[in-house]
Every structure is written in C-alpha cells, then in structure tokens.
Symmetry: C2
Subunit: 471 residues, 2 copies
C-alpha cells in the first residue's frame, strides 16, 4: 500500500500564527477536532486517511480568497473539499495543511433558462441542482453516479452515464469562478456558447483537481428535458457480444443517451443489493432521449444491432419509477459490489480507450482477472470506451493488494498501448500519478509542471497531486 | 489605423548566424524574397502587411522542432503560417522574425473510421480532409467558411456554420502534436473520447494562436454522414423576427445542423456575387441532419416557430447541388459583401453573446450602424449567439476607419455587458487585444500572461499577440 505513496508525502508544519489567524477569522467554522479532520482526510479510495491539520468551512468566494492569502503567506497546503466522493485519493492531506470545505457554499445562484445555463456555488450537489431546476423544463445531464458537488465534478473533469450523448464536464462547464493561489478572484469566461478570446482558462481549471486554483462557482450548460425517454435492459450470452454491439451502435452514430455495460458479477451484486431480478448475464442498459418518434427509431436501430450479436429481447422499463429503480441500481453498483465480499477493501480502476480497442482491452483484462485470487466486477460507460474494474480485496492481505496493483498497472498499460488513458473520469489523485509519465511522456509532464509552477509558485494548492513538484 | 497597433511592434533584429543556420539546413525551403515575405506578412485583416525576415517551409514535425530550437537560441520571433485566412492580424510579423509555413505538411496521416477520428498534418485544408474521407461515410463538420488549415483552425478555436450542432474546434480536437518553444515535441493526448488524466494540454493549445507552441498534427473527431440532409431558406419581415425565431428554436432544443442569419444587404450582395435570386429581406438559412423522419420532424417544428414570428414559407434546396450552391453563396458572403463598395477596405468584427441577449445586441448594433457613413452587412451563426459585422470603408479615409473602430468597440462593449465575448470565433490576433482586459479582467489576464511566460520564456512564439508580454 505505502509503496504507491510517493516521496511528496512529508507533512509540512502549519505555523501557529496561521492557525491563530484562521481561528480569529472563522471562529466555529474552523475545526481542529479529530472527527472532522478524519472525515476530511479520506475519500472513497483505498488509501488510509491522511488528515489535514484543520478544516475551514467557507461560505463565500471572498472567504476562500482570504484563506488562500493566509495559506500562501504561510506556505500552508490548502485542499478544497466538496462531497468527499473522489476515488483516487484526491483530497487526502498528504502534506497536512488546511482542508477547505465548500459544502456550505450550496446555493444555486442563477438559472438562465432562456440561455440553457445555470450558475451554482461549488458545493451544490448535482441532484440538488436537478431538483431546483425541474420546473424550468431543463436538466443537467452529467451524472457520475455519486451525488458529487459541482465544484468537485469540475475539478475532476467528471462524466458518467450520460456522457456518451451530452459530453463530460469538459464540454459542459461554461465558466468558473476561481480563487488563485495568492487569493485573487478570477472569472474564467462569460456565458457565450463559444469564444476565441484568448487562452481557455475554463478548461485549464476543469480537471486540475484543486492544484491550480480553487473553484468556487460553476456555470454549466443545461438541456431541455427530453420529450420522450425510454430505457431497456438487454442480456447477452458473452461479454464480447455486448461490447461488440456497443461499438457498432456508436459507429452508426445512434444518439443513445446512455449505454452501460455490467458483467454477470455486477448484475448479481445489484440484484442482491437493490432487490432486482435482472438475468445474471453480461448486459447493457440503454436509455433513449428524443421525440417519441425519435426514441422509437433509435430503439429499433439498437435492437436490430443487439439481435445481430446474440442479444436477447429488450426488457423495457416503461414507467419513470421503473427507470429510476434501474438507474439507482446501476449507480449503486459500486456499493453493491462491495457486498460480494463483506468487509473487503475495494480498489477501483478506470480506463478509457478508443472504441475500436474496447473489446480487446476488456477481453484481455477479464482473462487476467479470472486468474486473480479475489472477486471482481466490471461496469462501464462503454459508449465512450470507458470501463471500471472493482477488485474486492481481503483488507488484511498485503499480497492481494499487491496483486491488484499489478493488475491495475497492466490494465493501464493496455489502455495506454491502445492510445487510451489511465483514467477516463476518476482523475489522477494519488493513485494514478505513477502512470502520468507513461501516458503523457516526460516533455508533456514538464509542460504540466511548468503550468503548476506558474499558477501556484509556492506549491500550496493540493500539493503532491497530479504532477510531482520537481522533475 | 496605427492607433490600434500596440507598443510591442518593435522589430527585433534577426542575427545573421540564425539565418545562416536556417539557410544551411533548409536551402530552397528558406525564402527571403520580398514576394514570399509579403505573402506571409498579411492576412484577411484590415492591417497593412508586416513582413517576416524570412519564410521557412517545413515538411515534418522534426523540422519544426529544429527551427524552434534555432529561433529560441537566437531569440528570434517564430510565427506559424497555415492558409493565411485569419481575420484579426494573427500572423503579421509585428516584431519581424521567421514565418514558418506549414502548408506543405498536408498529409492525412490516419483515418480511424471505427473510432470516428482522423489525424492530419497541420497544413491539411478542411475541404481536402472531407474529400479524402468521403468514402468512409464520415465527415468533419467544422466549417469556418474559408478553406482554412486544420492547424490554423485549432490555433484560433475556429467554428462556423455547423457549430450549433457539432461544436467548435474546442470540442472536436482530440489531440495535438505540438512543438514547444524550445523545440521539444509533445503529444497532448491519446484518442480516448474522454480523459481525466491531468491538465488539459489539448485545450491549452487550442485557441492559443501560435503563442504557446506550434501545432504540427491534429487529431479530430469525425461524424457519420447524416442519412438525410435538407436545407431551406426562410425570409422574415424584420431582423428581429428572424433572431427571435432562432432563440426559440435553440431553447426548444431542436438539433438544427445549421442556422445562419443574413441581413438584407448581405442577401443583396450574395445575389449579385453568386447569381442567386434570394428575396432581399432578412433571412435564415437552415440545414437539418438526421434520419429521414428525424429531418422532417425538425423541419416541421422549425417551420411552426418561424411562422409564429412572421417568417414566410420555406424555400427548400432539395438537390445536393442546390444546397451546395446555397452554402457556397453563404460562405462567399464576405467577399460578396466587399463588392458592395468596390475598392473598399473591410473591417469585420465578431462577437458572441448568450442567446437571450442576441436580439437586443443585434438591434442596438444595427441602430448604430444605420447612422454610420459607410455601408455594412451582418451575417451570423445565430444559433450560437454569434454574429459578424462587415464594415465597408473608404480605403483612404482615416475618418471612416476611426468611425468603424468606435462602432467595433461599442459592439464589443455591448457583447461583454451581455456576458458575451469580444470574439466568438475569429480570435484575438492584434485587433482584439485591446479588449482582453475589459473582457477578462486584469487578474485573469495575469494568469494568461503567466501561462505564456511558462510555456515560452523567451517570448519567441508569435510575440505580441493575445496578451502583452508585460503587465
């Protein structure tokens, strides 16, 4: 375990003067209790907690700027915290410092329905946003499963089940308000749908995982709620048949809204966890959005393709509550998977490859996993070439951890060799840093490092993540 | 005229040793002839030519790296040149130096039809790409009008008529090969459809106008050629009626592939130039892509909306050759417009606003233009909130130039006040630099400047563009 933690995990002492100043300014909203620090020093990754020295609960962008100024002055690490749902150790305070909790910045600031945009504070959760805009007839499609904060989703370039149709946070963030390392407040763009006015500051911060600036507000694109929605499950005799179907659907340009793969083990786990009775074979879950005629047309095309590949009849989830049940089950696949081995430690990976390489990549991975000494499940946003492996490890077994790390590395290598990426949507955090040079090459990494040095010259913003400070 | 050229236009002497080294390495492919320098020292902007000291014609990424190394060593400005179709002075050698002509890097390197991607050298023109991939059943949608190079389109974050449906270069560039200021070769990403693996180097270079690195290869997304295509023209009694129709179409989420606005004067100009007989009122040109049923459905929805706003009957361009004629005419609107005042100097502007502000912004602009002492036309990719004004100026009149600059500035101010941008797709070049602080604020500009300093510490890459070197 510790083997994958790198050299930049030395705690930096937080000067008492800095804590005094924060205490004086924030009073009760600065916490040094071990329960609060413990809560902010872990995420959904397999890493043990690494605690910040203190947690500040911010209410405004200006407050965030004040904290940044102080931390910059005292050279204290500053780690933004949203919903804590990251999967790769993003928010662990590996050098100590201040965890900046943005969850109380939870107001939807503006809904510009005519422009199909909304501006929210970073702590707004995605389900909350969709609740608050429901009456406008619009919705925000990006759905990583977890009820993540919009700030965190922007910071990790999140995506999820709807990305095949609506894109990721890369495509759907229009503008950000960001606090820089030295406490200046910058708005990265206006609300025009396109702009050629200089460097793309928005997309510099999207995916930067709190290492270049602290996102305090997010303007996102919204979409009209589709007139018609239908969802269906299709079982396949083999994993390969399912994946080949998806490849053909994408290549034909069918605008499916969702196409999710689950292997037989993950189907079994959601049946147990969500009391469903899905047939326990590899399956695809589809959702179609459009006009009634358009949805029907898409469904017919897709049914013809899946039938060609040995797919069984579609089982339709006609009523909204059936669809909701189905997607809730899919979203709980991670937690459901954990139940397959009670008390286990989970390691979850995430790669993404060009779709022509998806079948090979999944097949080779399954072959390796079938030889492993622990159970696993595979789910995937396969329309994007993106899939996840959940490995269920004996929490006390160093051997199993080591074995899972080897499998993870082999999978990443396979994805990179296929011109893919070591992470399609989870982000780098701590766990994927080891693969950055392999994926990007040293020269590209050096450009990333120079960007980090330019934007955060004192290395206070979530230090030791994404790229190491020194070559 | 000179008033808008800023202080960073001092020519830097090019050391003889640098020219000698380039001459020794490139032989005939280094040109110091005044005709070649003249050709490379101007674009389609209203600026007079500002010549480079020499032009190098590169054939490979490695050659570009060699040139960059030399220029970096001798601190010589290096300006990439594609098709020369930029509109805001992007490629003018305001500090002298080397123009690096990439037009002979014109090979389509790979078409991965199953993945819907193509990789091309930077000098490939967009029409050439579409010719070469026609047999695959795929197409590349981004269409700025001019037959620009893919490298140039990436560098200016180009878009055009199809962006309302397919996005801009921001969304459609998957990966770039870039030569850095010090001559290293970097690939910014793989070909996975999404990635969260670190900073978004691809989008740092998209729109950077040659100031951060030299784009030598571009991997773009392709799309299945639509099963059915139809196009139609719709005339309106007033400009406002046309614009209001578009706003409603977008808000309803109709996936129109193109929706272009032309004012009566631009219709008159294309009638004259392209021998068409369009009714000379404000009009919209639509194109619909999809299945036959889908196209019909879209067209019916749009017809209902335009009729509500006083739009006349659709005139359909049914046959491919009719559509082609129509779009060629639209693409020639710029050159057609010039003919409305033979011998004129043109100044063209480009703003983009949230669609709810489009009608007001266009209306106020027309009101001001109607008082001007020169003719003008307006065309727009209105589905994105983006429109252009072409002002036709007496080439010898300093007063008319000044008047046009004032109108331009007022238009930009109006766009920024509407939370829009000073350029939706033309880019900053020289002409829009003056508005960057107004649009982004000094702190954001300082971030852009720090990025420039980090990526190009000797300020050799297209110096004096986008952001000034010093605050």
């Amino acid at each position: 375990m510790n083997a994958s933690l790198h050299a930049e995990t030395l705690r930096r002492p937080v000067p008492a003067a800095c804590l005094d100043a924060l205490r004086a300014r924030f009073g009760d909203r600065l916490s040094e209790s071990s329960a609060v620090r413990e809560h902010h020093g872990r995420d959904e990754s397999p890493y043990p907690a690494m605690l910040p020295d203190a947690v500040v609960f911010a209410h405004t962008t200006e407050e965030v700027a004040e904290v940044a100024k102080l931390c910059n002055e005292y050279r204290v690490p500053l780690i933004p915290y949203g919903a804590g749902s990251s999967l790769e150790g993003h928010i662990l305070a590996i050098q100590g410092g201040i965890s900046l909790d943005l969850s109380q910045m939870n107001k939807v600031l503006a809904v510009n329905a005519e422009d199909l945009t909304a501006t929210v504070q970073a702590g707004v959760l995605r389900k909350q946003l969709n609740e608050e805009i429901r009456d406008t007839g619009l919705f925000f499609p990006i759905d990583p499963g977890a009820d993540a904060s919009l700030g965190g989703m922007a910071a990790t370039r999140a995506s999820g089940t709807n990305a095949v149709r609506y894109g990721t946070m890369r495509e759907n963030v229009m503008s950000l308000t960001v606090v820089t390392a030295d406490g200046r407040i910058v708005r990265t763009a206006g609300r025009a749908r396109k702009s050629s006015a200089g460097y793309d500051l928005t997309r510099i911060f999207v995916g930067s995982e709190g290492t270049l600036g602290i996102i305090t507000e997010v303007t996102v694109r919204l979409y009209p709620q589709p007139e018609a929605v239908s969802a269906a499950v299709c079982n396949f005799p083999t994993l390969d048949a399912a994946v080949q179907s998806v490849i053909e659907i994408i290549q034909m340009g069918v605008p499916v809204a969702r196409v999710e793969f689950m292997d037989a083990a993950s189907v079994r786990s959601v049946n147990l966890h969500s009391k469903l009775s899905l047939r326990e074979t590899p399956l695809l879950v589809f959702e179609f959005h459009g006009s009634p005629a358009g949805v029907q047309e898409q469904a017919e095309t897709v049914q013809a393709i899946t039938a060609d590949h040995g797919g069984m009849d579609f089982e339709w989830a006609e009523r909204p509550e059936d669809r909701s049940r189905l997607w809730t089950a899919r979203h709980n696949a991670y937690f459901a998977g954990l139940q397959l081995r009670p008390g286990c430690r989970a390691s979850t990976t995430d790669v993404c490859v060009p779709i022509s390489r998806l079948a090979d990549c999944v097949r080779d991975t399954v072959e390796e996993l079938d030889r492993a000494s622990f159970p696993y499940t595979i789910v995937g946003h396969v329309g994007d070439g993106n899939f996840h492996v959940l490995m269920l490890l004996d929490a006390d077994s160093a051997e199993e951890w080591q074995e899972s790390e080897t499998i993870n590395h082999n999978l990443v290598r396979r994805a990179i060799a296929a011109d893919g990426t070591c992470t399609g949507e989870h982000g780098v955090g701590l766990h994927k840093m080891q693969f950055m040079a392999e994926e990007h090459g040293e020269d590209a990494l050096e450009l990333m490092r120079s960007l980090k040095h330019a934007f955060d010259p004192n290395n206070i913003l979530n230090p030791g993540k994404i790229v190491s400070w020194q070559a």
